[in-house]
């Protein structure tokens, strides 16, 4: 009996994902297309298009940088001299991704806050020869916005892990054995925290990769992050690109499944 109850409760979890994937597969071959016909041509367009790989590579690049920087900053925050700043560090958690994207647009666009600040300082064009504004192809604004959102999450998680692993105690012990404070941090505390955080880091890597609202408002037209590219193909370009959009869903899902396998191995 338990087996059937388990299946019933598991159904709303796995069914939407599997159904969506199956539907995407059929749509990518042109099934149920009122203006087209079934064909492999959509797949050859996707697989032989440099834009597909550019989009995936760009998404991985954005996710890697934003995750690494936010983890590193969260670690830095953890070991800085303590102050009553917890609530301030956690404040980004109260903003939705679309709100974060909006405010960073106001900060980093060509007529945003920082542009106005720099306008008051002469000769800054030499320093800022690289386009660091919103919607630049380097994705600087996206990385900054994602980092802003992720630092408090990593910080909170690291405080929990530090407490569970008794990092304080470990640091104290190693100092009693003659190590300096920073030696204790670098050789003992940080490796322990990284080891315990692997799953969480990967989880937030995937969240960054799958981000939509932030690259939608802060991203450039080329390259685009994979989620924005998929929705553009399905909804915003003309009807002939819809099967290609669903094909990209399959590729994106495959990438997520690959990463999740890695995550499951860590948990094991």
């Amino acid at each position: 009996m338990n087996k059937y109850i388990r299946a019933l409760f598991f159904l709303p979890i796995i069914l939407p994902f599997v159904t969506g994937l199956a539907y995407s597969l059929f749509k990518s071959f042109g099934f149920w297309d009122p203006i087209g016909h079934t064909s492999y041509s959509h797949w050859s367009k996707i697989l032989f298009s440099p834009t597909t790989y550019r989009s995936i590579a760009y998404s991985v690049y954005i996710a890697t940088f934003s995750t690494s920087i936010s983890f590193a900053l969260a670690l830095t925050l953890l070991f800085h001299k303590p102050a009553r700043v917890n609530l301030l560090v956690l404040l980004p958690l109260i903003l939705s991704p679309v709100s974060v994207a909006f405010i960073f647009l106001q900060l980093l666009s060509g007529n945003g806050f920082f542009a106005r600040l720099l306008a008051k300082v002469p000769d800054t064009s030499i320093i800022f020869s690289v386009d660091l504004t919103a919607q630049s192809p380097h994705g600087f604004a996206i990385i900054l916005a994602l980092t802003f959102m992720t630092i408090p999450v990593f910080y909170a998680f690291l405080t929990k892990i530090a407490e569970e692993e008794q990092i304080n105690h470990q640091i104290q012990l190693s100092r009693e054995l003659g190590a300096s404070y920073w030696q204790s941090i670098w050789k003992i505390a940080i490796p322990t925290l990284i080891q315990k955080s692997k799953f969480f880091i990967l989880l937030y890597f995937v969240f960054a990769l799958s981000s939509y609202e932030i690259p939608l408002l802060l991203g450039s037209q080329n390259p685009k992050m994979i989620t924005v590219f998929i929705i553009d193909k399905i909804q915003k370009f003309d009807l002939t690109t819809i099967p290609e959009g669903f094909g990209l869903v399959i590729i994106y899902s495959f990438l997520i499944i690959l990463i999740s396998r890695w995550m499951f191995q860590i948990v094991k």
């Binding site: 409760f9 709303p12 925050l77 007529n111 405080t159």
Partner: protein, 246 residues
């Protein structure tokens, strides 16, 4: 480290608050202006914003209640395949909804409040399932069996044994699933088809209109319940610090 806090609070949140109460930001002025005034009158809320707040609140509270209660029961029966529950959670919500839109249309819940609720349920339920799974330890399972063998009714077992133990986890799960819905944009825009105007949809709409003041107001309103939940749950979220100094 202080620069991180400075950036966090003063610049980002500060600019958001200033934009929400201002009505102009002419270039190249550094700060927005026209605080609490727009041609002599200022309205923080308009009808569209109020309707959206009501819709978002109702949606999020309903979803949180539904997913927490069902997730709580469901996680008791979780097997070793709990990790599979991560998969729908990892896919971008907007992508998942784009692939399921056809089915929502077929069953007639597309562009309805109920459809958005169902879509958000598919996102939040796996979270509740995974989140509440660790609660059902072997010890607790044994305590339940013992209680039932000693003749206790289900209600007694639930209110006297499970309830008190489950309250912190259930509360946190309720708040987290509330936020999943509250912050959701993808489900509302795809399944809602522009007709279910949650606050997040409104923020994007105002950005498209280049109406940054209303976008800031909607963003600030989105932050209020999240801020309250943060204050309440701070102790659950953070571990004990400080560390002994250098």
């Amino acid at each position: 480290m202080r620069w991180i806090i400075l950036f966090n609070f003063v610049i980002v949140i500060g600019l958001l608050i200033l934009l929400a109460i201002s009505s102009e930001w002419p270039y190249p002025n550094l700060m927005p202006g026209g605080y609490f005034s727009k041609n002599g009158s200022f309205q923080f809320f308009n009808l569209v914003l109020l309707k959206s707040i009501y819709q978002s609140l109702l949606l999020s509270l309903t979803l949180a209640l539904l997913t927490t209660s069902i997730g709580f029961v469901a996680s008791r029966y979780a097997s070793n395949h709990t990790r599979l529950a991560l998969l729908p959670f990892l896919i971008a919500p907007i992508i998942l909804m784009a692939t399921l839109r056809h089915f929502f249309i077929t069953i007639g819940v597309n562009n309805t409040w109920g459809g958005v609720l169902l879509g958000q349920f598919f996102l939040a339920y796996p979270f509740a399932f995974i989140f509440l799974h660790p609660f059902w330890t072997q010890k607790l399972q044994d305590a339940l069996i013992t209680s039932q063998e000693l003749g206790a009714t289900f209600m007694y077992t639930f209110t006297k044994i499970i309830g008190p133990l489950a309250r912190p986890a259930l509360t946190l799960c309720f708040f987290q699933t509330f936020l999943i819905s509250w912050f959701d944009y993808g489900t509302a825009i795809i399944i809602g088809a522009g007709q279910v105007k949650t606050l997040t949809v409104l923020v994007y709409q105002y950005v498209q209109e280049a109406n940054i003041y209303l976008a800031a107001r909607a963003s600030l309103i989105i932050g209020i319940p999240a801020f309250v939940l943060l204050l309440i749950n701070k102790h659950y979220i953070l571990g004990k610090i400080p560390f002994y100094g250098s």
